[in-house]
Symmetry: C2
Subunit: 368 residues, 2 copies
């Protein structure tokens, strides 16, 4: 990855934001700019040299994995404000940009008290760069997608009457690690039967129920890059009712992905899927006096170093698709107390439209 | 767990902070106050009723696991500030406390723009309650400690010439889940040979090296509560040099734990361990012109719903031990490029002093 170029792209924005240095606090953004994979660091990009603040525990990892352009600044259990004061004098900066989404109110207060320079909260500086992936990043994401698919296919072979959601989650975590993933990109969502009506069900000791949906929403982090895929399959058969709902969800997914290309608003892509689902009668139902939606969540999101990142595909999004973005499309229909269907693939936004990064079909699967 | 009492304890602080409602944003604090284990929620404690803001994906989980005193407030992709304005009118609050450590600068700005009420950042409100554990919490922590120890003993049996750090990490994650843990409380630190010189080494494909230290720093999250234990063992034999260092670390750990009791400052406990290690000559060394410490990290930290929480045991801590706190004591000596030794147990602060929650000895272990 070309870290020097990424650092440069941030520094080129200094003038526009009227700053002369930028503090990066998000560990994902630090990874993007340096390749550091540890859990404690701060980066200060200055006009002359990028500075890497970390502690004792990570000095050796700094030497091994951080982009060599950085200068190590030992920093442990000290005031960040006081350290910034010292660095501002040494490197001659006076207006420091900070990440408004990643600096807490308490941290900002401490910096303003002790740094003796102007602190300028800015939004999405690195995230906006990250939303558009380069070829190396897309290649890394493809590997994460493949690994996830391979392990999903293995899980299907393990579906048996006595197996529980928690058993499959443990198998999933084990198998992705044995294949080289750092971790799951989110806690595996494996929902049998009625549990599948909850888009984010907790993994339980629930066992299989015949002819009911089993939802697998799975993703890995491999070399920092994430994957995210959902398949709903059926155990021991599929009823006509569920098959109909499955086909509506698939139709919504396909229509949304075909409608998307650079320049199209993320809101519009969400609308395409939603209008198909609502048009088939899966709009709203009532619980007591309150209206709830059968498809109550957004259509999708960007994926990269984080499993949820820019852009957002939902009814309130103000994002627009750009070439090089990687997004999920994941419509669903959930019948409370009965079960639910969701299908999700990851797509690369290319000049002509979306290209599917997943390789598995969305045909109905009945296990075993 | 007595959620009603915990909520009450927060509400009783309203007058002292001159607020009439409190927004809780930290998911760990929300779990502490409600038992909710999902990934998206906000809680607003008001004088009349505690409000639980979450979205579609979690309505069923709200009904299943959240303390029944809460009222559900559907909230999805909206402005938090606008929602607070609406709630402030309905429930009659005008000065809302927020968690300064868990609200970002961007979130505070959005609330101040749209809520139309006064927003008061406060520090450590729920964390200070959480630092002192009740009997049920200690029982939950003991279970997490035991599960961790059992799986650690299993891992020792798997140490073989061809096994890698990553293999053992995958085995660890699998086995803790099969025994009911939600997840590891932090990514397992398993460091063979020279890697053990890095207190937070990345798990690698490194294989065994004879007569070198193997460090296992492991913890689980079980029913929300964490454990954290470190053992350094030796593969195929132990040299006299490493045995000496091992014994110094053990002496430092024992002396620190014996010095601790309610009312003793956390700084003092850190000093006891540090002075033993430094007194044996493991004070500082030089890399180029820069001084570095052989024991460069703090002595320990509180453990509960988070694996690192209040209090902090280090040279800059201003915390004091209280009855009911649960803390780690984990001194180490690290020889750069050679290896390192660390030992860590978890302790409950009782009237008379610390009681060790771990049950495994700290005698030298040679595997296989």
């Amino acid at each position: 990855m070309d870290f020097a170029r990424r650092i440069q792209r941030v520094c080129r924005m200094f003038a526009g934001h009227r700053i002369d240095a930028m503090l990066i606090s998000s560990l994902r953004n630090i990874y993007y700019l340096s390749s550091f994979s540890g859990s404690t660091a701060q980066v200060v990009l200055t006009r002359d040299v990028p500075l890497f603040l970390t502690d004792f525990r990570y000095y050796e990892r700094f030497a091994e994995e951080v982009h060599p352009g950085y200068e190590l600044v030992p920093f442990y259990q000290e005031s960040l404000g006081a350290k910034l004061r010292e660095l501002s004098r040494k490197h001659g900066f006076k207006r420091l940009g900070v990440e408004a989404e990643h600096v807490s109110v308490a941290q900002l207060e401490e910096m303003r008290e002790n740094a003796g320079i102007e602190i300028v909260p800015l939004k999405g500086v690195v995230e906006n760069l990250r939303a558009v992936k380069d070829a190396e990043e897309v290649a890394a994401i493809r590997k994460a997608v493949r690994l996830n698919e391979e392990v999903f296919l293995e899980l299907l072979k393990l579906v048996k009457p006595e197996v529980t959601e928690a058993d499959l989650a443990a198998e999933y975590e084990y198998r992705i690690r044995k294949r080289g993933a750092e971790a799951a990109s989110f806690p595996p969502l494996i929902a049998f039967g009625m549990n599948s009506s909850k888009p984010h069900a907790a993994v339980s000791r629930q066992q299989m129920m015949p002819a009911m949906p089993l939802t697998f929403d799975l993703g890995v982090s491999l070399n920092g890059y994430c994957s995210d895929m959902t398949r709903t399959v059926f155990y021991g058969g599929v009823s006509q009712g569920w098959e109909e709902i499955f086909n509506i969800v698939r139709e919504a997914k396909d229509a949304a992905s075909e409608s998307a290309r650079p320049g199209v608003s993320c809101q519009e892509v969400d609308r395409v899927a939603r209008s198909i689902i609502e048009g088939k009668g899966y709009d709203v139902y009532r619980v007591d006096s309150e209206e709830r939606k059968y498809f109550g969540h957004g259509l999708g999101h960007g994926v990269g170093l984080e499993v949820h990142e820019a852009p957002r595909l939902n009814a309130r999004s103000t994002d627009t698709l750009k070439k090089g973005m990687v997004v999920t499309i994941e419509p669903g229909i959930y019948l409370p107390g009965q079960g639910g269907i969701r299908l999700e693939d990851m797509y690369l936004v290319e000049e002509q439209g979306l290209s599917n990064l997943n390789t598995l079909s969305t045909d109905i699967i009945v296990v075993p």
